[in-house]
């Protein structure tokens, strides 16, 4: 009897084990693992992204999404090295400066039709200006999930201490121009503190200077990207102004001088509004956020962008595109907007933005964020940008000395980058 029972138990166990193995294998075969490379390692960002991955899993139980944080400074290099090594991610964040390279090379899976077909996605509410850099031949290849305007943060305590006018006072009197802004920065600079810092410029990332030279109507190259315009008058005037601000007026920290606005070391900084999170929580200072000053060419705005693309080489590109669609749908875009301002028109109102940017006032949101995103030009970019960036950086090094010939230096830069622009 007992032999009979144990035989039956063995058969049952075998049957269960076999069925588990068969179904388990079937499930494993359907399991999809997606990896997205990102340049943020911020805990709050990662929590939000993981929540989104969990939300996607509810409708796609076999799909697991993971995020790989790569260092910001070497992000594109690390990403392309992964691609070269045959270990490309399924999805990747892409900088606005390298967008042209990724879009034109064919490395990205076309997203436009997929996103447009998703129920409730409403791709049309994202302006064509915001998607221009991420499209080719009318097809969208990456979604610009972050459209962040550049603005001026001011330390009113330092400015008042130096006896200068704060940006708010200058705006009120209709004098918020680059001339006056530099006067204020110079007054603080002469006290031993820093004047105006263009954050992340560091005399390397010259493209961030567009936050100043756009006020002169200057641009490094023509609209179609084919002709160098570094040597033209608006650019040489703007660079002369910046040079004087650094070397004559002591209004901007010079090369090799490290100062941090958010540590209270400087009067003003130009950066994206998302950096408001760096403002000191305790023992802080009275700060303000204002639009970029008016230049000789009038009012202007500058925005930085970041896109999410699906790699063409991904074995699950279609599912990855579904995930990008889920991550950037109107509901999730509203959540993302607390860190990454959205280009969706429905989210560009002070009421929505106030919920996600509690540090900013109604006026700041209206004048800086909404106006900036609506009218801003995107920071310069080009195909082969890394090589152009490096050549221009090397060329501009010669003007970051007290005695210099800006016109000659910019002409030389044009001579060097023109063949690359025409490529």
């Amino acid at each position: 009897m007992s032999n009979h029972i144990s035989l039956k138990s063995c058969v049952a166990a075998l049957a269960i084990g076999l069925s588990l193995t068969v179904f388990g294998n079937a499930s494993a075969q359907n399991a999809v693992k997606l990896r997205m490379t990102i340049w943020s390692a911020n805990e709050a960002h990662l929590k939000l992204f993981n929540d989104m991955a969990a939300g996607f899993k509810q409708t796609h139980p076999n799909v697991t999404v993971t995020y790989e944080s790569l260092p910001f400074e070497t992000y594109t290099t690390a990403l392309t090295t992964q691609i070269a090594g045959g270990n490309a991610p399924d999805m990747a964040w892409i900088f606005e400066t390298t967008a042209y390279d990724f879009v034109s090379s064919g490395a990205l899976y076309p997203l436009g039709d997929k996103l447009a077909a998703l129920k409730g996605y409403n791709l049309d509410e994202v302006s064509s200006g915001a998607t221009e850099r991420w499209s080719k031949d009318g097809k969208l290849y990456a979604y610009p999930f972050s459209t962040s305007p550049f603005a001026v943060f001011a330390n009113n305590d330092l400015i008042r201490k130096a006896g200068a006018k704060t940006p708010a006072e200058l705006i009120k009197s209709g004098e918020w121009t680059w001339e006056k802004a530099i006067e204020t920065a110079s007054a603080v600079g002469k006290t031993g503190k820093g004047g105006l810092i263009v954050r992340d410029f560091n005399y390397q990332n010259w493209q961030n200077l567009a936050a100043i030279w756009n006020g002169w109507g200057a641009s490094p190259w023509s609209e179609d990207g084919k002709n160098c315009t570094f040597g033209e008058k608006p650019m040489t005037d703007a660079l002369s102004f910046i040079h004087d601000a650094v070397f004559k007026n002591k209004a901007m920290p010079g090369p090799g001088e490290n100062m941090d606005f958010f540590a209270g070391d400087a009067a003003m900084t130009i950066t994206q509004i998302s950096r408001a999170s760096l403002l000191p929580k305790q023992n802080g200072f009275e700060w303000d956020l204002v639009p970029l000053p008016t230049g000789p060419a009038g009012e202007y705005a500058l925005i930085g962008q970041a896109g999410i693309g699906v790699m063409q080489s991904s074995a699950h590109a279609d599912i990855a595109a579904d995930f990008v669609g889920y991550m950037t749908n109107p509901e999730n875009s509203a959540k993302l907007a607390q860190f990454f301002p959205s280009a969706r028109k429905s989210l560009l109102n002070a009421e929505t933005l106030k919920k996600t940017n509690p540090l900013l006032s109604q006026e700041q949101l209206d004048k800086v964020v909404i106006a900036g995103i609506s009218t801003g030009k995107v920071i310069p970019g080009h195909t082969g940008f890394a090589q152009i960036q490096q050549m221009v950086r090397a060329g501009l090094d010669s003007i970051w000395t007290p005695q210099t010939d800006i016109a000659a230096a910019t002409q030389k830069i044009c001579g060097q980058i023109s063949p690359l622009l025409k490529r």
């Binding site: 290099t77 090379s105 010079g254 090799g256 001088e257 890394a386 490096q390 090397a394 090094d397 000395t401």
Partner: protein
């Protein structure tokens, strides 16, 4: 029996041999293969272009300044490193109480992480950094070390010398301690001055070590990368863009993997030729080689 012995021998050298094949010879062959192609990583294309990348080497207008910066860096590094290492070794080759402390002090930078070392020096060399702060206390306004072409090159050389001089110093010290005292005694009896003892006894006796350290230092100087990447990023202008950094830019920043591989082959040839030349020189310069 002989076959069993040889099998055991092959087994003993197998780990090293497999390592060399997998991590040296195979990558070397692959780099040569890549150098014959145009490899667009983003577009995922790999096109055979024959000698085109090698022709590009001849037409590359940036290459002369890159090779010039590399030669300048190597020359400065080798001269400063070898002289300082020898000087320190002679000074520390004394039987004094606590001499081991000084030897450890001078050797300690060798075991420090290269990137951490360079980052700290990067802060010290800023215009408003520690070095200029110290100079200011004695009334000297220091230069903007990393932003002027000449001082930037001097800075990267000195940072590298301070990092690695301890290694050559220890090798020289070991060599000095192997020189028999009787030779010095005989020389002193013959009336030889200290300089003559140094020139006629010490230098010839440690010449095999000088050859070894010079090969290691020259090869190492041609491979400098982290210091440049952290301190100057090749600037100001292109004044500190040495060959390995240029190669890195071409391959990993500009995505020209084919041309980057060609530059690697050029670096390999330069290192091989220099090493071979030094090895040939040993016949004329090195004495007492066993």
């Amino acid at each position: 029996m002989a076959r069993r012995d040889s099998l055991a021998g092959y087994l003993f050298i197998a780990p090293q041999l497999i390592g060399i094949i997998a991590f040296v010879l195979l990558p070397l062959c692959l780099v040569f293969w890549y150098s014959l192609h145009e490899w667009n990583v983003l577009a995922n294309t790999f096109t055979y272009t024959g000698a085109q990348n090698y022709r590009m080497l001849l037409e590359d207008s940036s290459l002369p300044s890159v090779l010039g910066a590399t030669a300048l860096f190597s020359f400065g590094l080798v001269v400063l490193n070898m002289s300082l290492a020898l000087l320190l070794a002679v000074l520390l080759n004394q039987k004094l109480r606590g001499i081991a402390v000084f030897r450890t002090l001078f050797f300690s930078p060798v075991v420090v992480s290269l990137v951490a070392w360079t980052i700290v020096w990067g802060f010290l060399l800023q215009k408003n950094g520690g070095i200029n702060g110290m100079l200011l206390t004695v009334g000297i306004e220091g230069p903007n070390w990393l932003r002027e072409p000449v001082t930037a090159m001097i800075s990267v050389i000195v940072v590298q010398v301070f990092k690695n001089v301890g290694l050559n110093m220890i090798l020289f010290l070991a060599a000095l301690q192997g020189v028999p005292n009787e030779l010095y005694e005989a020389a002193r009896i013959d009336g030889a001055s200290s300089f003559k003892q140094f020139r006629r006894i010490m230098l010839p006796m440690i010449s095999p070590t000088i050859l070894l350290t010079s090969i290691i230092t020259i090869v190492g100087s041609l491979q400098v990368f982290a210091q440049i990447a952290v301190l100057t990023q090749g600037g100001p202008g292109v004044s500190t863009t040495v060959l390995v950094y240029y190669l890195y830019q071409q391959a990993f920043q500009f995505h020209f993997f084919g041309y980057g591989s060609t530059l690697s082959i050029m670096l390999f040839v330069i290192v091989a030729v220099l090493t071979f030349a030094q090895w040939q020189l040993r016949k004329r310069m090195v004495f007492y080689e066993s």
